[in-house]
Symmetry: C2
Subunit: 404 residues, 2 copies
């Protein structure tokens, strides 16, 4: 039986596709440091668990398709604190940021339409684009510039008759880039000039180590009709499994259209929203503490990477990822080898191969994304394993006889 | 700013689109009996809440994209109890039945492809089809036959070069139909003859009031390569807000393809899966008790409907819905009037207009779907409000001046 074309061409997640190898390594007794996925180890705030315990629910029922009113109000308060007044009609609670991406692409693009994204980019944009028959037009951002926004001319060169949107992730997963006001302004101007939407994925808003807070797409009134913001509580409160996020836009017609798709899936998870109400009531000091912890982690990873010969990476200012270029030709093969073969005192690590964050074939082959989501001491240990592995690595060992 | 075509043509949920009217009625002091949505009032089993309390989680992390292993094992045990051995590679945990439908359609259909569905059908199939650029080819099933499967010739007449699947919901939402072995065999033969997938939505498996258990699409080895089963815990355990379900198929290539989309959204909700493990460990007596309760409800609704002049409905044998033809020309206008204007001692009811369950324009205009998801006494009260409303109703009162 034939599958659909979209099923055949859908990319496997670069973050998750090697998980079976990690599982096998663990089954064989190895300890694996997971730096492949943005799964923070920061405890979920006790107040959020407490909210769940206190909820005293008899029937775990659907929530309204657009979200529980009290949670929507909490989100409105949160965005107000960031300078953005959002009406009820400008916000939809989603099943995490993933679904917000799905809805954003769906209301903007038909099959065959295109979106321009600087690459490397969050791999799951590609998964959703494929699901919806949308093409990603990548524009290279470079390690040497700290993954700055590509030049305006290069972005403009990728805008064609079917282009419907430009998408930025800010702070950026996987690069850690925090885009400047000038970079935002470039995209705003392109969106106006070429009649495009500007979709911004802002789930890492709190994870910014620069002096100024990250810029939001909601802060540009001149594109109020074409700005779409995608958000999630997953990283912010260490509740990745809660599956709660939102989509926000001033364009109420757009939000109403997204609501039709929200109705088709009935309801975002109820329990996650109840936890979210408590999370959004936490004081700013919560985020400050978390940010300081991640800053220490980032600095530790950068320090260790800086000692490894041939590793190229510039200090990222946001999110909790570092893209690093390794002195290997095929980073995916290297990661497979890490999981299948390499052990330092019974331990190894898993990182995400960089190629999965590129739409351009062959790009990112030497890069990996390192998620610094473990405690500093564990991170340092994982980085030392990486250093030892790079010293020991001889390409294509799996092809050599007798090594397994 | 133009929206996508799919956003423009996406149908609003017939189950949810009138909710704002109900909210307004409640804000004005009315009590509204909600028979519009399949939201059971049966308490979520205490063992499932207990599982959540006992979980003692520090970080609410992602689950594996295909589901928590212990939950997958619980599902395997559950299906084994229904006679179906499913390997790990034949099952993906989804964010409720909704996402299982999304994945099933996505792996089978490309934009422009078609699926044949007897109508009336669960409205959200249409929502997902629109999202994915898939066309629904409806074939009429009739109230007079108890919404039996349409004749083979009529189904076959709708099968064209772009047809990829036939979809049945069994027991059927919204009709309550439990399809016979002969009806299943007809679809199985058509699937083989025309090289189609057979997608079955079996979320109401436990809600069957006939002597024999409902038939599953997994019970036909001759279509093992083309059978796809969609399931959900929502109704089974009164956990609609947990958002946990699954997709199952013997075709492992198909499941692997669906897994790529599952990876793109990272994880189904973790807490719902933890609750699900406990739910699936409940004894059969749990389902028997729930079934008996729904049988009483069904019988009460049918008894009351039978007393209403001009109302047509045949006793359904499954799910917890009754489709009824009312003596009105425009049931949606009638439902709006129920919510906006009609009160019996300060109370009214909400049911789902039938037209939303039909893809054929104009079809189902006089029908409504009644979800019998409240206690018998409340249902009888709601049905008496309906009877009084039908006596009082004069079409198009909203157009008359001075009535608001």
């Amino acid at each position: 039986m034939d599958l659909s074309n979209r099923a055949r061409v859908a990319p496997p997640s670069p973050i998750r596709k090697l998980v079976p190898l990690a599982d096998r390594a663990k089954a064989a007794g190895a300890r694996v440091y997971h730096l492949n996925i943005g799964q923070p180890d920061i405890p979920t705030p006790p107040a959020m668990w407490e909210a769940l315990r206190r909820a005293n629910i008899e029937v775990l029922d659907y929530s309204p398709s657009g979200g529980i009113p009290a949670f929507v109000q909490a989100l409105q308060g949160y965005y107000r604190g960031h300078g953005h007044d959002l009406a009820r009609e400008e916000l939809i609670v989603t099943t995490a940021g993933s679904e917000a991406i799905l809805f954003a692409l769906a209301v903007v693009c038909d099959p065959g339409d295109e979106i321009v994204i600087p690459e490397p980019f969050y791999a799951n944009y590609n998964g959703y684009a494929t699901l919806l028959g949308v093409r990603v037009a990548p524009v290279a951002s470079l390690p040497e510039t700290g993954y700055a926004l590509p030049p305006r001319s290069e972005l403009e060169a990728r805008i064609g008759p079917r282009t419907r949107a430009i998408l930025l992730c800010n702070p950026c997963n996987p690069t850690g880039r925090v885009y400047t006001r000038e970079e935002f302004t470039t995209v705003v101007e392109l969106a106006r000039r070429h009649d495009l939407y500007f979709i911004a994925d802002e789930v890492y808003r709190e994870f910014c180590y620069a002096d100024e807070a990250p810029i939001s797409v909601l802060g540009f009134p001149e594109i109020a009709d074409r700005a779409i913001m995608v958000d999630s509580l997953s990283k912010r409160f260490s509740v990745c499994g809660a599956r709660v996020g939102c989509l926000a836009a001033r364009n109420r017609e757009l939000v109403a259209a997204a609501m039709k798709f929200a109705q088709a899936r009935l309801s975002p998870p109820t329990l996650g929203q109840l936890m979210g109400i408590a999370g959004l009531a936490l004081p700013p000091s919560y985020h400050e503490q978390v940010r300081e912890e991640y800053r220490r982690r980032r600095d530790a990873v950068l320090e260790e990477l800086g000692r490894m010969p041939g590793v190229v990476c510039r200090p990222p200012q946001g999110a909790f990822y570092v893209m690093a270029k390794l002195p290997v030709d095929d980073a995916e093969a290297f990661v497979r080898w890490l999981l299948d073969e390499f052990r330092l005192e019974g331990e190894t690590l898993m990182v995400a191969p960089g190629n999965g964050f590129y739409a351009t074939p062959g790009a990112g082959a030497s890069e990996v994304r390192i998620a610094y989501v473990l405690e500093v001491e564990k991170l340092r240990r994982a980085m030392r394993i990486l250093a030892a592995a790079l010293r020991a690595y001889r390409p294509a060992p799996a092809a050599a006889p007798g090594t397994r």
